[in-house]
Amino acid sequence: MAGLSLRDVHKSFGAIRAVAGVSFDVAPGEIVALLGPSGCGKSTLLSIIAGLETPDQGEVFWDGQPLRGTPPNQRGFGLMFQDFALFPHLNVFDNVAFGLRMANMPANQVKARVQEVLELVGLADFADRDVNTLSGGEQQRVALARSVAPRPRLLMLDEPLGALDRNLRDRLLIELADILRHLRQTAIYVTHDQEEAFALADRVVVLNAGRVEQIGTPLEIYRRPNNAFVARFLGLTNLLPAEVITLDGRYFYRTAIGNLPAQQPQANRALILLRPDAVQLNQDGECRLVGKLVRKSFRGSTCRTIVEIAGVQMTFDFLSSTALPEVGEQLELSFQPDEAVQAFPTA
């Protein structure tokens, strides 16, 4: 198979299992995001793919060929480090030219290529600058330019926006996406921020504690999280423990806020996810809820509310144009269970 494949990769550091049986593929031209909380093994995976670490078990393939034994400098991959790791003794030009010179590119071509990528990242006039005097955003661009300059067959980005402040991140995220699309770059993008992953990636690999929790397109993952961990990680926090009961021959989930219809329950117990954006402020839906508005916070296009239902605080998002009652007042909500409810079986 073309591109990158990981098959059952394991890596431990002493007693710590950093990566425990990870497999996924990256097709040519595809951008895959590795998404997960810190300590989930994302950076270790990058080190393994780059050849900086050797897996204890399992194998990394490129175009079907195993990479074990190929040193990092012969893999033709690019890696952009989280802390950029710019060479402090080289200026911007020499940093970007480093990989080209290692490939023995003639000097005039090096010059042209460096200028080209510096223009690509918007630093055309920065060639002679000392990298130690650059701002965080500028260092990030130099690091990106340095890693794409040798035209790597795979570019890995390790939390490339992690060190930057919010405003700069939002701006650079868009630029980064444009640059990667423009280059049709095969890339792996590591992040703990779902917004970054969703904005950039064709497919997302959600990792937790060294294991793959889910692989899919951003939409698939957001619409249908595989399990409670993924749901929580995506900020879907309306999770209620439930027990399956039968009433009049039909299955229901019994939860603290009431009974919800269940289609084909797979287990006796489950965690029920009620999607915050699939609930309406009317009685059109099949299921109804009555609660008290505890808090509402305006977030631009949407308004996030906290509603107390039968003593449980639930989060719901409404369009800002919705006429919400005042805090402290009652409100009636309704939803379609097949849209709004998802069940994760528990033991």
Partner: protein, 577 residues
């Protein structure tokens, strides 16, 4: 319990890199602690009058009590003047965006790195009896005698001390102040304080730790001042440091000199302890802000005028003596003694040409070119020795900063910094001129002393550079296609190489300018440049004077070149000096 366990553990935890500590610690033991021990021994081992006789003499003799008292109050006064002169500058440089600020800051650092003898000669060239000012006044008003009595006065000592140390206040206080959140003082003003009250009640208490640190450092430098007092103060003034020198060289009263050394060491230690107690009390955790938030432009014309007036005075004060020195060394203005024919005034290279001529045809006379050669030779040996000893120490510190040996050894390595140069020299005389380690005839004696002084600087500039070679950089290079041997060539060597260059420049310039220890231990037939300057300055005649200035200019240029190399090659944000 298994009794063999702890020993086995120790062996298992022993890392071969601990061996790196062996050479530097051996060196310090032999050339720092052993001499210090000899001073201790000498001060207590006096035949008549019991073991404490030397101390009793040091503390009861009115002359010596006078010396101690003078040492303290001149240092206090110098420190006060330095603060008064430096604090407005620190404020100005910290809080305002000024055109040419980095240039001004670079300029103000120059005096600090100049050897004392150069500074003394520089003030002499401007305000001394043969200096620019006095000669101009004599010329204009037709006077026979120089109207301004500057050398051999307290004013000269104070002026040189302020000249030397202002940059400490500018740097230490200015740097801290520039990161202090201006909103704290704004908050005070919103709460009804006027600008003076906000400064006094909010800003000053907050910057007090920085002011205290700067003041203490300045005080210790002034307290152990040697060259300035010896050359500019003349025979009327003596600090403890100068007195130790006189007692050793002039009177050969080694027990008394040793007792005075211990007294001085005790004082310095006491001040440092006092300082750390004080600074603990006044230091508060502060959120520091980047400079872009804290600095503003000068808006009103009055503010601009005041600022430019102050900066002009600052720059003229800190630069004029050095420019005056260089200019004077190329100018013939006054007649040689016994010469009655009119002097051909004007530019001349005579003073430099005379450096290599033995006019007195004396066997004991050492031509200054010899001093230049000796100085550069010693400096080269110092570079070699301090790198040889500093590299292993820095490597060990960089590799295992948390290791027990590192934690113990790090402060030990810095000890020579806190010991005055004359004390180090005295220790060498006492310890190394008798068996088992008799180095009197060895040409290594002076470079060893210089290495001791340079060692902390070398370690301090090497360690962060070695530490900066993060594994990340090697990985980045590998991913970019560098093979292992290319990584060594492209990453490791350039980074270490620059640090080695910076460390060498430190060692080199320290050795070139070192005066206190050298004055005690150098052999008369092999003087260094500072010693030759001192000799020429204390001899009469326009030619001697001119040669002193010429040598000083050479030393100044060499030091400036070394400092430029340090600025140029050190990696920004790395390095602790």
């Amino acid at each position: 319990m298994d009794r063999g366990r702890p020993a086995l553990e120790a062996i298992r935890h022993f890392r071969p890199s601990s061996l790196l500590w062996l050479p530097p610690l051996l060196f310090l033991g032999l050339f720092y602690f052993y001499p210090l021990g000899s001073i201790l021994q000498a001060s207590f081992a006096r035949g008549e009058g019991g073991p404490a006789a030397a101390f009793l003499e040091a503390l009861t003799s009115p002359a010596l009590r006078g010396v101690l008292w003078f040492t303290i109050w001149q240092a206090a006064l110098s420190t006060l003047l330095t603060l008064l002169f430096g604090l407005p500058g620190a404020y100005l440089l910290a809080r305002y965006r000024l055109p040419g600020k980095s240039f001004i800051q670079a300029l103000t650092t120059i005096p600090f790195v100049m050897p004392t003898l150069v500074v003394a000669a520089a003030f002499n060239a401007v305000l001394g009896p043969r200096g620019w000012v006095n000669l101009a006044l004599m010329e204009w008003f037709g006077l026979d005698q120089p109207p301004i009595q500057f050398t051999n006065t307290l004013i000269a000592i104070l002026a040189a001390h302020v000249f030397y140390n202002t940059t400490i206040v500018l740097r230490m206080v200015g740097d801290f102040w520039s990161h202090l959140d201006p909103r704290l003082s704004q908050a005070a003003q919103v709460l009804g304080a006027n600008r003076a009250q906000a400064l006094l009640r909010v800003t000053l208490p907050l910057i007090l730790p920085a002011v205290l640190s700067a003041a203490l450092l300045v005080f210790i430098f002034d307290f152990t001042s040697f060259g300035v007092i010896l050359v500019l103060g003349g025979p009327r003034f003596a600090t403890l440091e100068v007195e130790i020198y006189y007692q050793t060289i002039g009177l050969f009263n080694l027990p008394l000199a040793a007792a005075l050394s211990l007294l001085q060491l005790g004082c310095t230690l006491g001040f440092t302890l006092l300082y750390s107690r004080l600074s603990l009390r006044v230091t508060r955790p502060l959120p520091l802000r980047p400079r872009t938030f804290t600095q503003k432009g000068l808006h009103s014309w009055r503010a601009r005028l005041t600022a430019s007036l102050y900066l002009t005075v600052l720059v003229v004060y800190l630069v004029a003596p050095l420019v005056g020195l260089a200019a004077r060394s190329f100018t013939r203005l006054d007649p040689e003694r016994g010469q009655y024919s009119p002097v051909a005034r004007g530019l001349t290279l005579d003073f430099y040409r005379e450096l290599s001529i033995n006019r007195r045809e004396s066997l004991f006379y050492v031509p200054p070119t010899t001093a230049v050669a000796v100085s550069f030779l010693y400096a080269g040996m110092t570079v070699l020795l301090s790198l040889l000893l500093g590299l292993p120490a820095a490597w060990a510190l960089a590799r295992q900063p948390g290791g027990a040996l590192s934690r113990i050894s790090d402060p030990i390595l810095m000890l020579p910094l806190g010991t005055s140069a004359v004390t180090l020299g005295l220790g060498f005389i006492l310890a190394l001129s008798r068996p088992p380690l008799d180095l009197r005839a060895s040409p290594l004696m002076v470079p060893l002393a210089h290495t001791l002084v340079a060692f902390p600087f070398v370690v301090r500039s090497l360690t962060p550079a070695l530490r900066s070679i993060r594994p990340r950089l090697r990985q980045a290079a590998a991913v970019l296609g560098a093979a292992p041997h290319q990584i060594v060539r492209q990453i490791d060597l350039p980074l270490v190489g620059r640090a080695l260059l910076v460390a060498s420049a430190f060692a080199f310039s320290i050795s070139l300018g070192e005066f206190g220890a050298t004055a005690l231990i150098a052999r008369p037939e092999y003087p260094t440049i500072p010693l030759a300057i001192y000799r020429f300055l204390s001899q009469p005649g326009a030619l001697n004077y001119g040669q002193a200035l010429a040598l000083s200019t050479i030393l100044m240029v060499a030091t400036a070149v070394a400092m430029l190399a340090i600025e140029r090659f050190r990696i920004a944000e790395i390095g602790e000096f």
